[in-house]
């Protein structure tokens, strides 16, 4: 080459190398997008430039691949996050308490229900010792030692542990109160090794209340039934094998007593049946025209022996146009039976009971008044509660189920009516009932 060719070559080289500077600078900054401009002449320079372009293209391809992988990762992560959110939502919606622990009983997860029931922060307890956070008390209110805990036994023995209502266990809320619970504790196994534990539990306060109510009804029933049963037993024993000969009058009296005891049992059984019908929601309504004054008389006749025994004066104030009222006769009868029986029962001897009935627009209005023991003001709000009897009632009259007004009110409610009362202790009580009447001939 001569000197002019060399100069040209040098000029060319410098010119083309200059174009590479920005490309390398960009590449250093992570931008591989710029194309290399190939020199026109086909020489070692152009080979070099072609090589750079090939290298850049290879890098760009790797970049594209990386981007694809990253996108896939983002998508997979988004899916996992979604699934996680779904599971969190499922856990939160579970009404049962759920706690997951590792094999050393450190809490790894607690759902919202568990946190609420225990009064703790479901996130803050993670990592804590389960037996410090979840505290169990037995039926005597003594704290259960760790060895007896269901979860401990599940983790130790590798077998599921179940604690039912009869175990009578309670969990302690952070505020000190307790809730009755049923518990299931299960070990989590992988390849036959215990790797974790799961405890689920349920607040059974409602079930326990129901159980107590049922037991109460049964014990009241058996006690209340035994009294008339005893009377019938002894009275009939006397009639069958008297020690001395009995006069006809005494025999008749005994038979009347047997009859009255039997009536008492019938009333009790009816009350109990009504209560369970109310609880199970199986009462049916049927509206038919019937004679109200006659029904009132029927109810008063049933109470005749009590009325005569206590020399109660009964005053009736029955309005006109009531001999073909349309509503459920059975319901009205039960309401009257309960209110009138109470009026007679809680009146001292020689007092008066007034029953009035009249039409009030489209409604039927009853008032049943007595001048007896009354309901003390501080007990009035509970008077319609099942099994409730006011203290003065209990003291004065030992026989009573506490079911009459509960049943009566339920009957009034089912007819779409209203029942209320006015009362003062030792002055007397007046019960008011309003029942809507259907027009006759309308179905």
């Amino acid at each position: 080459m001569d000197s002019s060719d060399l100069e040209t070559y040098q000029r060319d080289l410098r010119k083309h190398l200059k174009t590479l500077a920005p490309i390398f600078a960009n590449a250093a900054a992570g931008d591989f997008s710029q194309d290399v401009k190939l020199p026109a002449k086909d020489n070692e320079l152009s080979v070099f430039f072609a090589g750079v372009e090939v290298m850049l293209e290879a890098i760009r391809e790797k970049e594209r691949e990386s981007k694809e992988i990253l996108e896939k990762l983002y998508n997979v992560n988004a899916e996992l996050q979604h699934e996680k959110a779904v599971y969190q939502a499922i856990l939160s919606s579970i009404a049962e308490g759920l706690v997951v622990v590792d094999k050393e009983a450190h809490i790894t997860l607690m759902n919202q229900a568990a946190a609420d029931m225990l009064g703790v922060d479901g996130q803050a307890v993670i990592g804590r010792n389960y037996y410090d956070i979840v505290i169990t008390k037995d039926r005597e209110d003594k704290i259960l030692p760790v060895e007896k805990r269901a979860l401990k036994r599940a983790l130790t023995t590798g077998r599921k542990q179940i604690r039912t209502m009869t175990d009578e266990l309670q969990y302690v809320h952070s505020n000190g109160t307790t809730i009755p619970v049923t518990i299931t504790a299960s070990p989590v196994k992988l390849n036959n090794q215990i790797i974790a534990g799961v405890s689920t539990f349920q607040d059974i306060s409602t079930e326990k209340q129901l159980d107590r109510t049922k037991s109460e009804i049964i014990s009241i029933a058996s006690h209340q039934l035994r009294t008339p049963l005893t009377a019938i037993k002894w009275l009939s024993e006397q009639l069958i094998k008297p020690v001395h000969k009995m006069s006809r009058a005494t025999q008749k009296l005994y038979l009347q007593r047997i009859h009255a005891s039997n009536e008492r049992m019938i009333t009790l059984v009816n009350d109990l049946l009504n209560v369970s019908r109310i609880e199970l929601g199986t009462i049916s309504l049927s509206a038919q025209p019937f004679d109200l004054p006659r029904t009132i008389n029927d109810v008063l006749n049933e109470l005749d022996s009590q009325i005569k025994l206590k020399h109660i004066k009964v005053q009736k104030q029955i309005g006109s146009g009531l001999d073909a009222i349309v509503t459920d006769r059975r319901h009205v009868q039960v309401i009257l039976q309960n209110l009138l029986a109470n009026a007679v029962k809680y009146s001292p001897k020689n007092h008066t009971v007034t029953v009035s009935a009249r039409k009030d627009g489209q409604n039927l209005r009853f008032e049943i008044r007595d001048t007896g023991y009354g309901i003390p003001e501080n007990q009035q709000s509970k008077i319609f509660n099942k099994l409730f009897r006011a203290d003065n009632a209990r003291k004065q009259v030992s026989d009573g189920t506490g079911l009459g007004l509960y049943v009566g009110k339920a009957m009034v409610d089912q007819l779409g009516g209203k029942i209320w009362f006015e009362s003062a202790e030792n002055k007397g009580t007046t019960f008011f009932v309003i029942l809507p009447l259907t027009k006759p001939n309308s179905r």
Binding site: T227, L229, K233, L235, V243, H244, R257, S398, D399
Partner: protein, 132 residues
């Protein structure tokens, strides 16, 4: 001493039961005193000093177990033989009755009247045999 002079106090609020018990014990030759509630019962027990008391638990004004406690607190009521008759059969009530000095506890609906009379007679016999 023959039964004819034996005094029995029946403390029971249920009318038909009181009547049939009184009638029977009267026919069996007892002197019968009746009380309709724990208040009357306590008064009658201390005043009349019966040989045996048949005592119901569920009664108005003053219940049987409370009456029994109050009776035993009295000098004149400490040693009277008491048979608790009731239709409650929970062991809690049985324990309380026996702890307060009842000599026996009967569930009414389980016993015929004749057996109650027998039970009362036994108490009187025991009382006589334990007297010096």
């Amino acid at each position: 001493m023959s039964d004819d002079l034996a005094k029995i106090l029946i403390v029971e609020d249920d009318e038909p039961l009181v009547e049939v018990l009184s009638e029977r014990f009267d026919n069996e030759g007892f002197e019968v005193i009746v009380a309709k509630d724990g208040e009357q019962g306590l008064k009658a027990a201390l005043e009349k000093q019966p040989d045996v008391i048949l005592l119901d638990i569920i009664m108005p004004k003053l219940d049987g177990l409370t009456m029994l406690k109050q009776l035993r607190a009295h000098e004149k009521g400490k040693n009277i033989r008491v048979i608790v008759i009731t239709n409650l059969s929970d062991s809690k009530e049985v324990h309380e009755a026996l702890a307060n000095g009842a000599h026996d506890f009967l569930v009414k609906s389980d016993w015929a009247i004749a057996d109650i009379v027998e039970s009362v007679r036994n108490q009187i016999q025991e009382m006589h045999s334990s007297q010096p």
